[in-house]
């Protein structure tokens, strides 16, 4: 039994924290909300220097050959300071490509970060949803996944994908489309004919999003197994969960510090049960979320059949945790917590947007039920 960070993982985390601390990410996030996009620091060079773009790519192709859990540690550190680094889009894309031997020459520039990829999220079927689906631009009805036609040089992909993390500015788009009804991995150059990426940054200035439109765009078919396409969706869930838990950590630390120093009626507000209990609720959700990150990190390699359940649990719990942590952060600080003067609204904005991405925490929660009901049927 060993469910703790290794020395290397501790080092990776500390190094990430150190590297990120050189940037004023929160100030930039606030200024960017006022429309000053130039305020946002370009963190990609730092990420490249740290080797993060190649975290999941094997060493033979210039990467670090690390695991999903290591990537989750880095995302957690990004979440702590709301750093906008396009890893949520890049890393699952590299995971899909890494499982497709015939496309291996695409990996090296992605490993060094010379080129950037974005994953086009598509949700695998479930017991209630027979098809692969993608997030719609609006509404609760999920949209059909992209479709592929032709073969070899003639392969073309068409589809509409909304709210794709880190799509703007990406060089390569990697996703799942149906070829004669069967899910197939594909890669398409972002500047290819028929590809349009509309930047759709909303509410949280640090979160890069785009609507991707593919109209008969020339696609490269990937020879990886279907399992790797399914795993990519759950990998994205786990990474977003890790990032959210990082944000919860900061929200709790800042709230606790304030509850110790702020006095009312002659005593620190943290001594009141009403405040104390709401903060322990954040801690409870944080600890649950952390445990599920371990579950997801372990299951990815240790028990791949459980990875969908583990990643969905992590996403669902982390999303709810961040929601509550951000609201608690505001209420513990009182009125000031709801103003531009404070960082709390930045975490609140992060929480509000994050919970609605990648199928939403509702989708992840339903996936948990689906997986458990399937396990029950098998028992």
């Amino acid at each position: 039994m060993n469910l703790a960070l290794s020395d290397e993982q501790e080092f990776l985390r500390e190094a990430a924290r150190g590297a990120l601390s050189r940037f004023k990410t929160l100030e930039a996030a606030r200024e960017a909300l006022d429309g000053d996009d130039a305020a946002l620091p370009d963190l990609w060079p730092m990420a490249r220097e740290a080797g993060w773009p190649g975290l999941l790519i094997d060493e033979a192709h210039g990467g670090a050959g690390l695991d999903a859990f290591d990537a989750m540690l880095v995302l957690g550190e990004c979440g702590r300071v709301l750093a906008g680094i396009p890893l949520l889009g890049h890393l699952p894309a590299t995971a899909i490509l890494g499982d497709a031997p015939a496309a291996s020459e695409l990996l090296e520039p992605l490993a060094t970060g010379e080129r950037r990829a974005a994953y086009l999220p598509a949700s695998p079927p479930s017991d209630l949803q027979e098809r692969w689906t993608v997030d719609p631009a609006s509404g609760s009805q999920r949209a059909p996944a992209a479709t592929l036609t032709g073969a070899g040089e003639q392969a073309r992909v068409s589809g509409e994908l909304a709210w794709v993390p880190d799509a703007p500015g990406a060089d390569l788009l990697v996703g799942v489309a149906l070829l004669d009804g069967s899910p197939t991995g594909f890669a398409v150059e972002a500047d290819a004919t028929g590809v349009t990426i509309e930047e759709t940054r909303r509410y949280d200035a640090t979160r890069s999003l785009g609507h991707v439109s593919l109209k008969d765009a020339p696609a490269r078919l990937l020879d990886g197994p279907e399992a790797s396409l399914t795993a990519a969706w759950h990998m994205a869930q786990a990474l977003l969960a890790a990032e959210s838990i990082g944000s919860v950590e900061t929200a709790l630390e800042v709230s606790v510090a304030y509850a110790k120093e702020r006095h009312t009626f002659g005593r620190a507000i943290g001594s009141y049960q009403a405040v104390k209990h709401s903060l322990t609720e954040v801690l409870r959700q944080l600890e649950n979320g952390r445990s599920l990150l371990y579950y997801a990190g372990w299951a990815r390699n240790g028990s791949p059949g459980e990875f969908p359940l583990a990643a969905s649990c992590a996403r669902a719990v982390a999303g709810r945790a961040l929601d509550n942590a951000a609201r608690t952060m505001i209420s513990v600080h009182g009125g000031i917590g709801a103003t531009w003067e404070h960082d709390a609204p930045l975490y609140f904005r992060r929480a509000q947007l994050s919970r609605r991405l990648l199928g939403g925490i509702g989708g992840a929660t339903d996936r948990v039920a689906e997986q458990l009901l399937a396990q029950a049927d098998a028992a």
């Binding site: 703790a4 509850a259 600890e287 649950n288 371990y294 372990w298 969905s312 948990v368 009901l373």
Partner: protein, 405 residues
């Protein structure tokens, strides 16, 4: 990162599994066909089975060898529990004695006490109960009023009442926290005693709960005589001794969550049987929310095990797992009963029993409110609620509270 046994742990698991394979036919049958029904017979059979487990080295796993234990670590205890569950046989009857009270005696008891009590406790020959809580002292345990008065000959006389006492109806001994000096602040005037349950003046009365069953007891003490050797850990040191017991209680709770049967697999099975409910988005959403938290607690348990393996002792944060489990099970009970309908509340329904049991469990081992206070203060470092009982002699405190002293 792995969930695997080390070679030593795997060897221990194989040993435990082998013993159980060989002896499980001797275990009492408590459910299904051929199950024992008479309460006295069940207790007798479970005591005998505990004795066999002890002989096989499957009880008192973490106890030092000199007291009949195996001298192993908490991981081996967990492995032992897992193997017992896997073999589908009952575990030891006296989990409170062997898990919490024995270790307290080992830590604080005299050599004579260890020699006299530990062996029969481990083998189930003498069952123990824990007599800490009182009607007016639960979360605020140091407020106990059961009074032990020192006699001229060095013996003691005990008067008062304890409550929530599991197993008292068949226990031979109890470990009891009593006030021995009311003129000092409340944490200071306490002493721990060993009380024979068949002593003159000891009365045990079953306390029925929502389910109608009596799993707990009230115990009354009417001028019960205790000799001077009944003191554990020294006169006036009762609070420190009690903290040892409570620490072992936390370890037990921290490692035992799954053992309570409140797990996602069981709840999902109940809902999977209903073809309509399993496609109902609201039911699925509820199940997903409940299950994800219960699964989290399972992995929190593994994190705790990792820490124990590294020689760390679980802190009060283990209490958060209890909050999650109880509240998750409450929601699950409601969800499943809503799906099944009134039939879920019939006499022999497992859900009726669970639904009835949980409101009480919410307060057991510390109410949710006191757990959140402790965790807020000890883990998050938040300032304590101002207290009105600090440094005040207990006798004055009682009159201040307007209660009879």
């Amino acid at each position: 990162m792995d969930l695997d046994d080390t070679p030593e742990q795997a060897a221990y698991r194989a040993e435990a599994r082998g013993w159980l394979e060989e002896h499980k036919s001797e275990a009492p049958v408590l459910s299904g066909p051929g199950a024992l029904e008479d309460e006295d017979e069940i207790i007798a059979a479970r005591r005998a089975w505990q004795g066999k487990l002890a002989e096989g080295g499957l009880a008192g796993v973490t106890w030092p060898k000199e007291y009949g234990g195996q001298g192993r670590g908490p991981i081996e205890q967990v492995i032992c529990n897992q193997e017992i569950a896997r073999a589908k046989v009952p575990g030891i009857l006296d989990a409170i004695g062997v898990g919490m009270l024995g270790p307290t005696i080992i830590a604080h008891g005299s050599d004579e006490q260890k020699a006299r009590y530990l062996g029969p406790m481990l083998h189930g020959d003498e069952v123990w109960c824990q007599m800490f809580s009182e009607p007016a002292a639960g979360s605020d345990l140091a407020a106990v009023q059961t009074r032990a008065r020192l006699q001229d000959d060095g013996s003691w006389r005990l008067t008062g009442q304890k409550v929530w006492t599991t197993n008292a109806q068949f226990a031979s001994y109890g470990l009891l926290l009593a006030r021995t000096d009311a003129d000092v602040p409340k944490h200071k005037g306490l002493t721990m005693f060993i009380v024979p349950m068949d002593g003159e003046g000891v009365t045990v009365r079953g306390l029925r709960q929502i389910s109608g069953e009596a799993e707990f007891n009230e115990v009354f003490f009417d001028d019960v005589a205790l000799d001077e050797n009944a003191v554990v850990g020294g006169v006036g040191n009762g609070w420190g001794t009690a903290l040892t017991t409570l620490m072992y209680e936390r370890v037990t709770i921290g490692l035992g969550g799954e053992g309570m049967g409140y797990n996602s697999t069981r709840f999902a099975l109940a809902l999977a049987r209903d073809a309509h409910a399993r496609r109902d988005p609201e039911v699925r959403h509820q199940l997903g929310e409940i299950a994800s938290e219960l699964i989290a607690v399972r992995f929190t348990g593994y994190r705790t095990l990792t820490a124990l393996q590294r020689g760390q002792i679980p802190g009060p944060e283990a209490g958060l797992a209890k909050v999650t489990i109880v509240n998750g099970a409450v929601r699950a009970g409601d969800l499943i009963a809503d799906v099944i309908g009134p039939e879920a509340l019939s006499e022999d329904s497992e859900w009726a029993y669970m639904i009835s049991f949980l409101p009480g469990l919410k307060s057991a081992g510390g109410t949710e409110e006191i757990l959140r206070n402790t965790i807020g203060e000890r883990v998050l470092g938040l300032p304590p609620e101002p207290r009105l009982d600090k440094g005040i002699p207990f006798s004055e405190l009682r009159s201040k509270e307007g209660a009879p002293a």
